[in-house]
Amino acid sequence: MPTVSVKRDLLFEALGQTYTDEEFDELCFEFGLELDEITSEKDIISREQGDDKAKGASDVVLYKIDVPANRYDLLCLEGLVRGLQVFKEKSDAPLYKRVSPADGAEPQRLVITEETQSVRPHAVAAVLRNIKFTQERYDSFIELQEKLHQNICRKRTLVAIGTHDLDTISGPFTYTAKAPSDIRFKPLSQSKEFTAAELMTHYKTDSHLRHYLHIIENEPLYPVIYDSNGVVLSMPPIINGDHSKISLNTKNVFIECTATDLTKAKITLDMMVTMFSEYCQEPFTVEAAEVVCPDGRELAYRTETLSGEFINKKVGINESAESIAQLLTRMCLRSEVTGEPNQIQVEIPPTRSDVIHACDIMEDAAIAYGFNNIVQSTPQTYTVANQFPLNKLTELLRQDIAAAGFTEALTFALCSKEDIADKLRKNIKKTKAVHIANPKTAEFQVARTCLLPGLLKTIAANRKMPLPLKLFEISDVVLKDETKDVGACNNRRLCAVFYNKSPGFEVIHGLLDRIMQLLDIKPGSENGYHIQAAEDSTFFPGRCAEIFLAGKSIGHLGVLHPDVISQFELTMPCSAIDLNIEPFL
C-alpha cells in the first residue's frame, strides 16, 4: 500500500478547513484511506539518523496517508484534495479536457521507430501549457512521478516517465533505440557528456539509479528520445537529459511515458496530466501530443449505465436512483438518472483507471453511503457443516497422543536441504523434495519431506528442559508426485521422538501400539499391523523397524543414528517414529 506524505497545513489550506487529527483520521477511514503517521521531517531524520543530524530540519507537521494500491489518483496532494472535496460535496469533480494547441498550430509529434520494438515498444506523450509552478507544486510534481514509478510503473520496468521544458526543445520528437556507444549526452545533474555505456558504469554506484540499470543493461539497443535538433530528451527508463530539465520557471511541460505495457503507459500519463493540469492557465486542460503509431484513448471518459436496483441489491440498501447518482458523483464518478426508469448513467473519468466493472461502481456507491451505515443482516443460506476427514482424524489423534504423555510441537514446513538430507544421512536426490527457486536464506530451500528434523531442532532449542523430552507433531510434508496437476502433493504424517539418557525404543514402540489401539487396529501381518527389522541410514543399525499396515509399509521407528543426533547438536540417545496417517482414513 503506497504512502503519501503531505504537509498538514498545506492540505488543510487546500481543503479550506482545519481538522483535529482525530477528525481527519475519521474522514480518511470513511473514504478508505488511513492516516498512518503524524510526523515531521525533523522527526524522521532524528529517528533514522539521530538527533544531531536533525538539527535545523523542518518541523512542519507531515501527514503520512496510506492509499489503496489501485488509486493512483490519490498519490499526490492535488489528487487527495480533489477526491476529498468532491466526497465532502464541497466541489464538483473537474472535467478534464483534451485540447489542441492554440492558434491552430500543429500538435507536438512523437515518432516511434522500429528499433524500440525489442526493448521498450510503447510511448505516449502530452503537453501541459502555461503551467505555473511554485516550490510546493514543483515538489509535488516530482514526488508524484516517483510514486507512480514505484507503483503502477513497477519500478520503471513497465513504464518510465520523462518530463521536459518544452521551450528548450523543438519537435517533432523521435523515440528510437541505439547501441549504447552511439548514445551521447549530458544527463540530468551531471557536468559533462557521457556515452550510454559510460553512464551505465557511472550509475553502478548511484544509490538511486542503480536499481533501474538491469531493465536495459543487457539489451543490444538502448531506448532514447531526440528532438528535431538531435538533443537527447531522455534515455528511458534510466535518466533524462540535462538540456530539457524542468525548473520552477518552466511554462510548458512536455511529458513522455515509454513502456512495455501500453495500457499502463496511458494510465500513467493520464495521472500526471490530470493531477497537474489544475495549475494550467486554463485549468484541467491537456494538450495531446500526437504519437505516430497512435491510439486515441488518452484522457478518455467512459460511460456505464446501470440500474439503481443493481446497486441496492448488491450493497443491501434501498436508495432512489437519484440519491445513488448523487453518492457516485461524490466519488468523482459524475452520474445522472437517465430517461429510463431507475437507470443511472455513470461517467468514469481518466483518473479512475481502477473502475473496470459495474462492481467497482457499486463499491464507490457503498463507500459514499458509508459502510458503517449499511444495515447488517444474516443471510438465510442453509448448509450442513462437514469436517475434512483428514483433519478430523488429525484432531482426534492429537488429543490422545498428548494424553499419552507427548507434547505437541509446531515446526516449519520449509527448511534447508541439509535438514532433510545430509543431517539425516540421506541423499537429497532420493528424497522427492520440492525445491524453492528463490529462497532468501538456506532455511527456505525446500519443503520438508519429513517431520523429524523439525522435532530434533525443537529439542536442540530446549535442551535446558528436564529429561525425558517427549514430542510429537501431526502435520503435512510435501513430496513430488507426477500424478498431480502441479506435480507435488502433501502427505499427512505423524512423527514422535523420545529423548533421554537411554534410547527408550520401548517407549516409542509403546506409542505405536497405543496409536494402533486408538485406531482400532490389531497386531497381525494379514489385516493388522506389524513391524519388521529394516535398514534405514537415519537409524542406528539393528535398531530400526519398518511399520506395515495390512502388508503395506507406512513408516519407520527406531533409535536414531548417533551421527544424526550430533548433526542436530544433541547429546543424548533418541528414538523416533515417523508414520503416514492417510491410510487410516
Binding site: F29, F388, A402, R492
Partner: protein, 485 residues
C-alpha cells in the same frame, strides 16, 4: 524426630517456667548440647500448638584457648618477669616495653637480663579473669579490643530460642502421623491418631502428561466456531499451487507486485504445473487480456507460461478458487459455506511478528443475492464468538474482491481501533469465468491465526510460538483456549 525423652525433659522444664525459657539455659540446665535442644524445639513446633518459640540472638565475650591459659597461669610478660617461663619472644618484648626488665649487654660472659622493678601487677590476667567470670561489662572497650587483637578474647554470637507454652500445651505428647495408611483404615486406629497438618501453600506435584501446542488449541477453537456456524471444511492439504489457481483464477494480473520474486516463493522443481481445465483457462485468459462479463479487463498480454509457474501458495484463497470452480461444475448450483485454516507462505522480510509461513483463517459463503450487509452480518456473528462485538469497516483494496473491507475492532486496552481481518465480495471477473450463475454472490473474509493467538497468550515474539525455537515451558504452562472469555 528428636529423642522423645529429651522432648519430655524440655516440656517439663517449660511447665515450671511461667514466662518461658531460653534454649541456651535449657541446654545448660539439662547438660545437653544446644544443637540437640534446637532439634527438640523444632520437633515440638511440628506438633502444632504445643509450644511457641521465637528465635533470638545475643553476643558475649569468651576467652580463647590462649586466653584461658593466661587467666590461669599469668600473662607471658608476667611469666618472663617471674622467670617461670623460658624467655618467649612475646612476653619478653612486652615485659621490656612495660619496663619490668632490662638487658645488660655489656655484662661479662654475654648479655644478661635483670628485673628493673620489685614487683608487678599482672593486669592482663586480671582482665581475662573478669571475662571468665562473665563480667566483661566491667572492661573498657579499648581493653577488649586490645585483648581481641592479642587473640586472647573473642566475641561470640549465640543463637537461641525463647520457648513458651503454646495454646495446647501439655507435657505428654502423642506422635503425629504423616499419612493415612491402609492398616489404619483396616484397624480403625485412625480414630485415635493425630495427623500432621498439610502445608496447603505449597504447590502440588505436576501431573505427568503431554500438552497441546497453544496455536493448535486456538486452531481447534476456530474450527469449532466455523462448524457451529454450519461451515464445511475445505481440503487445504496442497501447499504447492500453480500461479494459475493462486493468482490468475482470482483475477490478479500477471504484473501484480504480489507475483514478484520478492513476495512469493516460486518452485524450481517441479517448476511448472502441467494440467489445467482448458476451457476455463481460456476464459480466464480472455477476461484478463480483453475483459468480458461486463469488465474492461486489464488489457495486457496474458501468458500461460506465467500461469504455469508453481509456487508455495500465498493464501488459502487458491483452494477457495478450486472449490468454487468445482461448485460451478455442478449441474445445479447449491449454496455453500466453506472454511479453512492452514499454512500459507510469503517470501517476506522476517521480524518479531512476521514469519515466512503462517496460518490463514478463511471463510467463504456462496449464494444467490448476498449483500454487503450480509457480509457484515456474518462477520458480526463470527467475531462475537471470538468475544469481539465492537466492529467497524473501512474501504480497502484487494485485487479479487470488490467491494473490499478491512475489519477493525475496538481494542479496550490500547483504546483504539485495530485491524482484525480482511473481507470482501469476490469480483465477477473471478466468478463468472468459473461458470457460476450470474446472480450468485460470493462473500469471504480472512485473518491470521497467529495474531489472535499471540494476543491471547501474551506472546510478543512469534518465534517463541511457531517453529523449533518454541519455548516448551510456555507450551507446558499454556492454559486451555476459550476465545470468548
Amino acid at each position: 524426630m528428636a529423642d522423645s525423652g529429651l522432648l519430655d525433659s524440655v516440656l517439663r522444664l517449660l511447665e515450671k517456667a511461667e514466662d518461658g525459657v531460653d534454649s541456651q539455659d535449657v541446654s545448660a540446665g539439662l547438660g545437653v548440647d544446644h544443637q540437640l535442644i534446637v532439634g527438640a524445639v523444632k520437633s515440638l513446633q511440628a506438633l502444632g500448638e504445643v509450644i511457641s518459640a521465637e528465635q533470638r540472638s545475643s553476643k558475649h565475650w569468651e576467652l580463647t584457648a590462649e586466653g584461658c591459659e593466661i587467666a590461669e597461669q599469668g600473662s607471658h610478660e608476667a611469666r618472663v618477669f617471674t622467670a617461670k617461663m623460658a624467655s618467649g619472644k612475646v612476653g619478653f618484648s612486652k615485659a621490656m616495653s612495660n619496663k619490668w626488665i632490662r638487658v645488660d649487654k655489656a655484662h661479662e660472659g654475654g648479655p644478661r637480663v635483670f628485673r628493673s622493678v620489685e614487683s608487678i601487677e599482672d593486669m592482663v590476667r586480671d582482665k581475662l579473669q573478669l571475662v571468665q567470670k562473665g563480667q566483661w561489662d566491667r572492661l573498657e572497650e579499648k581493653d577488649k579490643n586490645e585483648l581481641k587483637k592479642r587473640k586472647l578474647l573473642a566475641e561470640v554470637t549465640v543463637k537461641s530460642y525463647w520457648i513458651m507454652k503454646g495454646s495446647s500445651f501439655s507435657t505428654t505428647i502423642t506422635k503425629q502421623e504423616t499419612e493415612l495408611t491402609p492398616e489404619m483404615i483396616a484397624s480403625g486406629s485412625w480414630k485415635e491418631k493425630k495427623f500432621k497438618p498439610y502445608n496447603f501453600s505449597a504447590l502440588g506435584v505436576a501431573p505427568d502428561c503431554g500438552h497441546l501446542h497453544p496455536l493448535m488449541k486456538v486452531r481447534t477453537q476456530f474450527r469449532q466456531i466455523f462448524l457451529e456456524m454450519g461451515f464445511t471444511e475445505m481440503p487445504t492439504n496442497n501447499f504447492i499451487e500453480s500461479s494459475f489457481w493462486n493468482f490468475d483464477s482470482l483475477f490478479q494480473p500477471q504484473q501484480h507486485p504480489a507475483r514478484d520474486q520478492h513476495d512469493t516463493f516460486f518452485i524450481s522443481d517441479p517448476a511448472l504445473a502441467h494440467e489445467f481445465p482448458q476451457d476455463y483457462l481460456e476464459r480466464v485468459k480472455k477476461v484478463h487480456s480483453e475483459g468480458g462479463y461486463g469488465s474492461q479487463g486489464y488489457k495486457y498480454d496474458w501468458k500461460v507460461e506465467e500461469a504455469q509457474k508453481n509456487l508455495l501458495r500465498t493464501h488459502t484463497t487458491a483452494v477457495s478458487a478450486r472449490m468454487l470452480y468445482k461448485l460451478a461444475q455442478q449441474e445445479t448450483f447449491t449454496p455453500v459455506k466453506y472454511f479453512s485454516i492452514d499454512r500459507v507462505f510469503r517470501n517476506e522480510t522476517l521480524d518479531a511478528t512476521h514469519l515466512a509461513e503462517f496460518h490463514q483463517i478463511e471463510g467463504v459463503v456462496a449464494d444467490y443475492d448476498l449483500t454487503l450487509g450480509n457480509l457484515m452480518g456474518i462477520l458480526h456473528q463470527f467475531f462475537t464468538k471470538l468475544g469481539i462485538t465492537k466492529l467497524r469497516f473501512k474501504p480497502a483494496f484487494n485485487p479479487y474482491t470488490e467491494p473490499s473491507m478491512e475489519i477493525f475492532s475496538y481494542h479496550e486496552g490500547l483504546k483504539k481501533w485495530v485491524e482484525v481481518g480482511n473481507s470482501g465480495v469476490f469480483r465477477p471477473e473471478m466468478l463468472l469465468p468459473m461458470g457460476l450463475p450470474e446472480g450468485v454472490t460470493v462473500i469471504a473474509w480472512g485473518l491470521s491465526l497467529e495474531r489472535p493467538t499471540m494476543i491471547k497468550y501474551g506472546i510478543n515474539n512469534i518465534r517463541e510460538l511457531v517453529g523449533h525455537k518454541v519455548n516448551l515451558q510456555m507450551v507446558y504452562d499454556s492454559p486451555i483456549c476459550r476465545l470468548d472469555s
